[in-house]
Amino acid sequence: MTMYLVIAVVILFFVVIFQIAKASEYVAVLKGEKNSKLQSNKINGFLMVVFLVLGLIGVWYCNELLFPKTLFRFGSASVQGEKVDSMLWVTIAVTGSVFIATQILLFWFAYKYQEKPGKKVFYFPHNTNLELLWTVVPAIVLTVLVVIGLRNWFSFTSEAPKDAMVIEVTGKQFGWIFRYPGADNQLGKKYYKNIDNASNSLGLVWDDKMSQDDIVTEQTVYIVKDKPCKFIIGSRDVIHDVGLSQFRMKMDAVPGIPTTMWFTPKYTTKEMQERTGNPNFAYEISCDQMCGNGHYSMKGIIQVVTQSEYDEWMAKQKPYYYTAFPDKEPSNSKPSVDSTKKVVVFKEISNTQKSNSKI
């Protein structure tokens, strides 16, 4: 009912505006075209300045309102991301000042040089010096930005340090699978045709000894504070993207072509919860590449912990090999408490996803 009311009001509003506009046209004809043109010119010239002033106030107000909601209040959560932030400030200083200067000139000129009867314009078709000025100055400024940008770019994309922990991240519709190299510190071979959702979600080649101690988890990955962490990223089906906004990092997950990314986390998840004052804070992995209808729910969690917490957690993990071949497990008695817990967590997440998609 309210819907129809709203539509009726909108239509009424339209008709009123339309009629006023039509009437104003008749009035213009009666008053003489010249006078009415001059009048509307004055109004629009004035509105130019109004728009400029309100616009600049709006830009400031928008910043007051929304800046605290961005990530920059707390800075980057990775060492590499600090460079992104500092570069961002330089860029915002440059583009911001150009923005303000040119917008002021544009709307001010529009106001100042509005039509006045009998005014002679300045016939000014070109001026080589001016044109050179605004070719050369932007070129120099941009060169500076390019140099800063490329220095950072090469440092982000450089080889990860030798002591970095290596974790394989695999995207699938719609979730994340993580693989740790296990005791031998080597990721074993895998082949996609071995994939079996129940017992071999990554298609590990079990004949390869190096695969047999690999540890596989879903949805949540543990990494260590202050220790460089290298992700080897891939996808099982379509293109996904590992988006880590708090770390200022992002890399696509492409089927068949492994990509890499490395960074050094600065704060544990707990520390971030305290810094942000948000007890629910989590380092979320967002899929940033359209991957299907569940794209929006493709969430992973990075738990940044201290080395000792990590070691403790890792000690509880069992190689994935034993999930595929439970009889080979040395202490083959009852399923460990932890692995059931993991399954419960995963179920919860998939349940929330299901219920979300049902809404």
Binding site: L71, W134, L145, S245
Partner: protein, 605 residues
């Protein structure tokens, strides 16, 4: 030699039309079909492009309202949605499938059907013959085909909305494997087949049109109209056509490979894939990234295909209404040329986070930021054009000024995104949405509106209502900034694009109020565009009639034709051109038409 042939052709056509016009002002032998449907008059074809483009703009715009409804009010239900969308909005709540289909179709339709066909299709067709001084296009028949291929492309796209599995829903860029595998997404089944067919037809349309525009500009200029006397609109439309002709075939090749992967078991883009429900696919050895290279080799020039016509028209309109020559005419052509060249050398900046070789990435950073130089030249030249002018705020002029403002705002954020190290953080977030909607979407839309308001009197012999034009402008520019400016902040928070619902995300859910605000403004702005359409269609029939042939006091040739030019444009000889198009305010004269011979006492610029 070629010019002689062209002249002969002219005289042939003009004599035909002279005799024709002598006994009847109208084309009595024309039937409804040949005049309004399968017309070969460039002016009618332009109107066909424009009105078809408007249809798609309304549909594409309405789609954005629908998905903004989901983003702004994720917890509300709208029963009327179920009435129009059926199973795609069960219980009055858009499903994710429908949401992604809407987002995808909105993007495809607005980029290709509205801002490519609707913009350059309309104004290249309308202005090129009129402003270079030609009776019609080089090939009126190809021109007609160009429209009908576009129309057919539209029909196919429209039909995809009614398929059981839904229209394509993998984003307008259609990246495989998602777009190649029906098992990965229902939208990639029949919907995707129709999407590719539609796009293929569109490429054909665009090539037929583009070749025609190039041929006409190069060969059919009237006597005295040297290339450096062309209005900037024509230069812009010329570069646009060149970009299209060189880049659309590459997109087409990408589509062909995609069709093979989808239907004939090849592995151009596919490798190592296991799809839930379908198991491991046999394809090995392909590269999903190859498609992105082929796509963006068109995709980036496409941005300039959209932007350049707007730039050209804005230059013309700013100069005319400031009553002052465009500043730096040659620099304007030079910067458009530079943009046209660079457009082909920057495509991989859309692919910085695909795992691209970092060294290759660095080259693309350099070339991308280089585009800022010609863009800066253009902006400062426009500002200088306004400086010390005598500005008339016609609705067209307002939209032209709005274009410059939006081009600055959106262009500057390009400097952020083009720098790969910053792009790592901002890629595929709302920052990108804000950037390209402002600089490419809304700015070009403003260029299009400016063009429509400015040339409407030439198209229909009547004026649009001014007051409605002013209302349209002020609401639209304020709305555009209110919608897209705050999105930069969402992007700075890392909020990814193409999400159906943010409520499960601790990192992004703080923007729910803002999303509601943006959606509300989007609806108001959309409604305002309906007001413009009402003005447009009302004025075609009932608008104030033109009494002089040259209402804006403009120098260019189209205003030397009769108020309602017939097929062939000029009743007599095609006028000869003696000067450039921008002699406004020279030696104290308000304007000097291009057809006025240079006087003996005239100063040389």
């Amino acid at each position: 030699m070629s010019s002689e042939v062209a002249l002969d052709f002219h005289s042939g056509v003009s004599s035909l039309h002279d005799t024709h016009h002598s006994h009847d002002e109208h084309h009595h032998h024309e039937t409804f079909i040949s005049k309004y449907v399968f017309s070969m008059d460039h002016k009618m074809i332009a109107k066909q492009f424009l009105i078809t483009g408007m249809f798609w703009a309304v549909l594409g715009g309405f789609m954005s309202v629908l998905f903004r409804l989901q983003l702004g009010y994720p917890d509300s239900t709208f029963p009327w949605l179920e009435d129009i969308l059926g199973k795609w909005a069960k219980g009055g709540h858009i499903t994710p499938e429908a949401y992604y289909a809407l987002v995808t179709t909105h993007g495809t339709v607005l980029v290709f059907f509205v801002l490519t066909a609707g913009l350059s299709g309309t104004f290249a067709n309308f202005l090129i013959p009129l402003q270079v001084g030609a009776r019609d296009m080089a090939s009126p028949f190809m021109n007609m085909l160009s429209f009908w291929f576009f129309f057919t492309a539209g029909i196919v796209m429209l039909s995809s909305i009614f398929v059981e599995t839904g229209p394509f829903s993998g984003g307008w860029t259609a990246y495989p494997p998602l777009s190649a595998l029906g098992d990965a997404s229902p939208g990639s089944k029949t919907g995707m087949d129709l999407w590719i067919v539609s796009m293929a037809l569109f490429v054909v349309s665009s090539l037929l049109g583009g070749l025609n525009y190039i041929a006409t500009v190069l060969n059919m200029r009237t006597k005295g109209m040297s290339m450096t006397r062309l209005p900037l609109t024509i230069w812009a439309l010329f570069f646009t056509a060149v970009l299209g002709v060189l880049s659309f075939p590459v997109l087409f090749s990408g589509f062909i490979l995609l069709i093979f992967d989808r239907n004939f078991g090849t592995s151009f883009y596919l490798s190592d894939i296991f799809v839930n429900g379908a198991g491991a696919l046999p394809n090995e050895g392909g590269s999903a990234i190859l498609y992105q290279h082929l796509f963006w080799f068109l995709g980036h020039p496409e941005v300039y295909i959209i932007l350049l016509p707007a730039m050209g028209m804005v230059s013309e309109i700013l100069s005319t209404n400031a009553r002052k020559p465009i500043f730096g005419y040659m620099a304007m052509i030079g910067s458009m040329f530079a943009i046209a060249i660079l457009a082909f050398l920057v495509w991989a900046h859309h692919m910085f986070v695909t795992g691209l070789n970092p060294f290759l990435g660095s080259i693309f950073v350099l070339l991308t930021l280089l585009i800022a130089v010609p863009s800066a030249i253009k902006v400062f030249n426009w500002l200088t054009t306004l400086w010390r002018g005598n500005i008339r705020f016609t609705p067209a002029m307002l939209f032209a000024i709005g274009f410059v403002s939006l081009f600055i705002s959106g262009g500057l954020t390009g400097i952020w995104l083009g720098n790969s190290a910053l792009d790592i953080h901002l890629h595929d977030t709302y920052f990108v949405i804000a950037h390209f909607h402002i600089v490419m979407g809304v700015a070009s839309m403003f260029g299009m509106f400016a063009g429509i308001y400015h040339w409407f009197p030439k198209m229909y012999g009547r004026f649009l209502n001014n007051t409605l034009g002013y209302v349209h402008f002020w609401i639209t520019i304020a709305g555009a900034y209110l919608i897209f400016w705050p999105m930069h902040y969402e992007g700075l928070a890392g909020m990814p694009r193409r999400y159906y619902d943010y409520s499960i995300w601790e990192s992004f859910k703080q923007f729910s109020d803002l999303n509601r605000f943006i959606s509300t403004v989007a609806m108001i702005v959309f409604a305002t565009q309906i007001l413009f359409l009402a003005n447009f269609f009302y004025s075609i029939f009932k608008g104030r009639k033109l009494r002089t042939a040259n209402p804006w006091g403009s120098n260019t040739l189209e205003w030397t034709t009769p108020i309602k030019p017939g097929h062939g444009n000029w009743p007599g000889e095609i006028p000869e051109v003696y000067r450039w198009a921008y002699d406004y305010g020279k030696d104290g004269t308000d304007f000097i038409s291009q057809t006025t011979p240079v006087g003996a006492d005239e100063s040389v610029h």
